[in-house]
Amino acid sequence: MKVSVQKYDPSKDDAPYMREFEVEYHDNMTVLEALVQINDNQEPLVFDYSCRGRTCGRCAMALNGQACLACVTLVSENGKNEVTPLPGFPIVRDLIVDKTKMTDRIASIMVRQRAYPLELEEVLAPVDAETYKKIDPLEHCARCGVCTASCPVVAEIGMKNYIGPAGMIAIGLRYYDPYDQGDRIVEAVQNGMYNCTQCGTCDMVCKALEIDHQSLYKDLRAAAQERGLAPKEA
């Protein structure tokens, strides 16, 4: 099986370049397995991973131009396997990109806003069951960046104008969170919610299969509408 991989060492190379490798295929082979095989047996390749199961998000890259998680994406025995770094992020080396422009922003959004610390009674008290059912799936967002790298709106107008799906998950999670006291609807609008075209690409590419981005977007828009925060033309 042929696998070509983009390599780039900014301390040495003028530009990224592709290298082609012959890899021994086995059933259900993942992109990550192919990369480890190349790195172990052929030549150094720089990539990152940890959990092998779509929760750490560290193996995000692209296969044939499509952003994916290398640990849960299969290579094709006879087809094209072109592995490149996660699009839209600065390359550190080979397949490693710097995702902090996304992850740092998500991390600061995700910090709960509260006036006073939670008390045990609040934690033990029942919550609205519908709210729970909405929050629970969002917990699984790995912040891998596959959705953001695939988002056509982010590609066109940049994360500055639309934070992208993973950022919206963070805002949504704290919007639903009954313990959070921040104004997450303002935050959603500020972060470009209305620039999202609701095309559904994020739902297609996300490997946290329980996340339903579209219904979150609907809820956030409805709340913004109610608050009078919808843009005039929307």
């Binding site: 060492d9 301390s11 040495k12 259900n28 082979m29 993942t30 397995e33 480890v36 095989q37 790195n39 172990d40 030549e43 150094p44 720089v46 940890s50 959990c51 092998r52 199961g53 779509r54 929760t55 750490c56 998000g57 560290r58 640990c71 849960v72 299969l74 550190v92 080396r93 490693i96 995702k99 992850t103 991390a107 600061s108 995700m110 910090v111 709960r112 509260r114 610390p117 939670l118 008390e119 045990l120 934690v123 033990l124 029942p126 919550v127 609205d128 069951a129 729970y132 059912k133 929050i135 629970d136 917990e139 790995a142 912040r143 969170d177 009954p178 313990y179 490997k207 299969l209 329980e210």
Partner: protein, 626 residues
């Protein structure tokens, strides 16, 4: 908390799963107590300043030949340095933050994504529901080899409220924990006086909260050695991986929170037979070991049964399908014998579960890949799949086209935790190296073979409390350039080799040899062969280990090479301790010594390092009155 409320209640108040898991807990396994210190303060505490940065230039005469000369290194200075920003490290850092200390956290991975804590997984937390004395708590399970002084001190280091992980993790921004989807009521798996346990703790929230403190986090930084001056630990040294810059972090006291060294435990295409993280390669444990500190508990691991195929997600907790003691009736050997059936389930705990499977494999009834089957062909069996694995059923369909329902799944025993750590005193300070504290100190886990999230949390905070007390009484000596240059020369000297094997090839050999000696089915001749192979690797492969890449920028060959020294030392210590212990105890079955032998082995085993020579000794268990 309301004692009458039961999570997933069955006929007798507890579901069968809860009963079995509870049996496992009370009989001797999962977790030690919880404790976060003073979390209330972390959202409004004063922000703490961090260390200063200086630049030094290594002197040419001590550097590693040409490659070292003229390369600048960074020096940071702080009160408390925490190595490893994982489950233990979060609590360690929060404790120091609450006390207003200057802190630097050194983290190998990207902050928020490193180690086990960096998996955004559905974590099970547990703690003692009622305010019970340390030795009546079910939140950690004292075993016969636990250091009782440490167990008592760490449990009592926090009051009842602080030990309540549900509250404390919620204050660190964890969400709702598991709820009844119909009523929104909180839904613990256990709600017993001795034990409260619940799913849906996602550790990344706590990492966000840690980031929001403003404490200095030096991430992507591989700590490769501790700074030892006049027999005292005064900080840590290592490499900033993206740039290859050498860093020295000087600290009055240092707290090691670097996780379990499970990455040495076998190999299967992308990972060992372990759900643990590649970040955790025992680096600081090995550094302390080489500085003359003893290791303890290295022969013990903690195991779980999980899928071996598909290979790319073998032993991955977060995408795999596993089976615990709650599924024991559906486990069968290669010939289709359901060997748990008819067993007295009151004796079933995680240890007897592992031992029964290891015995089955040892007696020749294992599958081709050295595992057993979990037979999901009946609806009852399928319904027994544990909480964390349920979401992976869809993933298997989506990615691999495999429907788990109805199949006989080949599973093996993975090691998610390891017990081998430096021997510590009652303050969790490493014996023989004042100034270095250790959140998972040797002897604490006993035959349990490692830690759990609540132990990691509590010990991280406790070790830091003690580290702060220690720091108050010391001042930092001037930095000894020779000490820095020795380590600088060691790690940069790796660039000057040629003609040897690449680090990846050597890594695989270490992993396979370690597995031969340390897997749960322990057979003397195979263990000895593993030990011989580790000795051969040390003698023949390591001196000429050669990087395939000469870049300073994110050089994973270099990183792998540095870690190999540590993995090899820990692997050899563990393998030798495993062979030394001639009985069956903990998560292992030794076919030549199939019984637990309290007459000869009711003791800990410690290992010493002497110039590459590793030896084992017996050590008496520390009881309260010893």
């Amino acid at each position: 908390m309301d004692g009458s409320k039961q999570g997933s209640a069955g006929k007798n108040g507890l579901s069968r799963r809860a009963f079995l898991e509870g049996g496992a807990l009370t009989a001797s396994v999962m977790a030690l107590g919880a404790g976060l210190a003073g979390m209330a303060g972390c959202s409004n505490g004063a922000s703490s300043s961090s260390g200063t940065t200086k630049e030094g230039t290594p002197s040419a005469e001590v550097g590693a030949g040409g490659s070292a000369t003229g390369t600048p290194y960074e020096v940071y200075e702080t009160d408390i340095c925490i190595i490893g920003g994982g489950l233990a490290g979060i609590q360690a850092a929060m404790e120091a933050f609450d006390q207003g200390k200057n802190v630097i956290i050194v983290e190998k991975g990207p902050h928020g994504f490193g180690g086990v804590a960096g998996y955004n997984w559905d974590q099970f937390i547990n703690f003692t529901r009622d305010d019970l004395p340390w030795d009546e708590s079910g939140d950690f399970v004292l075993n016969e080899l636990t250091n009782k002084k440490i167990a008592k001190a760490t449990y009592e280091g926090w009051n009842h409220e602080q030990r309540n992980l549900l509250l404390n993790n919620s204050r660190l921004d964890n969400d709702l924990y598991q709820r009844d989807p119909e009523t929104g009521e909180i839904q613990p798996l256990f709600d017993l006086p001795t034990l409260y346990g619940i799913y849906r703790g996602f550790p990344r929230h706590m990492l966000d909260k840690l980031g929001a403190t403003g404490l200095k986090i030096l991430d992507h930084t591989l700590a490769s050695d501790v700074v030892v001056q006049d027999g005292t630990c005064t900080g840590v040294m290592g490499i900033h991986i993206p740039t290859g810059t050498f860093r020295v972090i000087r600290a009055k006291s240092t707290v090691c929170c670097t996780g379990a060294s499970c990455w040495m435990y076998g190999w299967n295409t992308v990972a060992p037979m372990s759900i643990n993280s590649p970040d955790n390669t025992g680096d600081i444990d090995a550094a302390a070991f080489r500085h003359g500190c003893a290791l303890e508990g290295s022969e013990f691991f903690q195991n779980d049964l999980i899928n071996i195929e598909p290979k790319g997600i073998a032993a991955s907790f977060v995408s795999g399908i596993g089976a615990d003691s709650g599924c024991c009736e559906y486990i069968c050997d290669a010939e289709g014998n359901y060997f748990f059936k008819g067993m007295d389930y009151t004796t079933l705990n995680k240890i007897t579960f592992t031992q029964a499977i290891a015995k089955c494999i040892s007696e020749g009834h294992g599958t081709e890949n050295g595992g057993v089957y979990v037979d999901f062909s009946t609806p009852e069996a399928f319904a027994s799949i544990g909480e964390t694995y349920i979401r992976n059923i869809e993933l298997w369909k989506d990615v691999f086209g495999i429907d788990v329902e109805g199949i006989k799944l080949e599973c093996g025993l993975e090691a998610y935790e390891h017990g081998g750590n430096p021997v510590v005193d009652e303050t969790l300070m490493v014996e023989g190296l004042p100034g270095l504290f250790h959140a998972r100190g040797g002897g604490y886990c006993g035959s349990q073979g490692g830690s759990s999230v609540n132990v990691a949390a509590r010990n991280g905070a406790y070790a830091t409390k003690k580290a702060i007390e220690y720091a108050e009484g010391v001042s930092l000596p001037p930095l000894d350039n020779d000490v820095v240059m020795a380590e600088y020369g060691r790690v940069y000297g790796l660039f000057d080799r040629s003609g040897g094997k690449r680090p990846q090839e050597i890594r695989r050999a270490i992993q396979m040899a370690c597995y031969d000696a340390c897997q749960p089915d322990r057979e003397t001749s195979r263990m000895q062969a593993g030990i011989d192979e580790l000795a051969r690797i040390r003698k023949e492969d390591m001196p000429s280990m050669t990087l395939g890449d000469d870049s300073r920028v994110y050089n994973t060959d270099w990183k792998c090479a540095i870690e190999n020294y540590n993995l090899l030392d820990i692997a050899e210590a563990s393998a030798k301790a495993a062979l030394f212990r001639e009985e069956t105890r903990g998560h292992m079955f030794r076919s030549e010594f199939p019984e637990q032998d309290d007459e000869n082995w009711l003791c800990n085993v410690i290992e010493y390092y002497n110039d590459g020579d590793i030896t084992c000794e017996k050590k008496a268990v520390v009881e309260l009155d010893s």
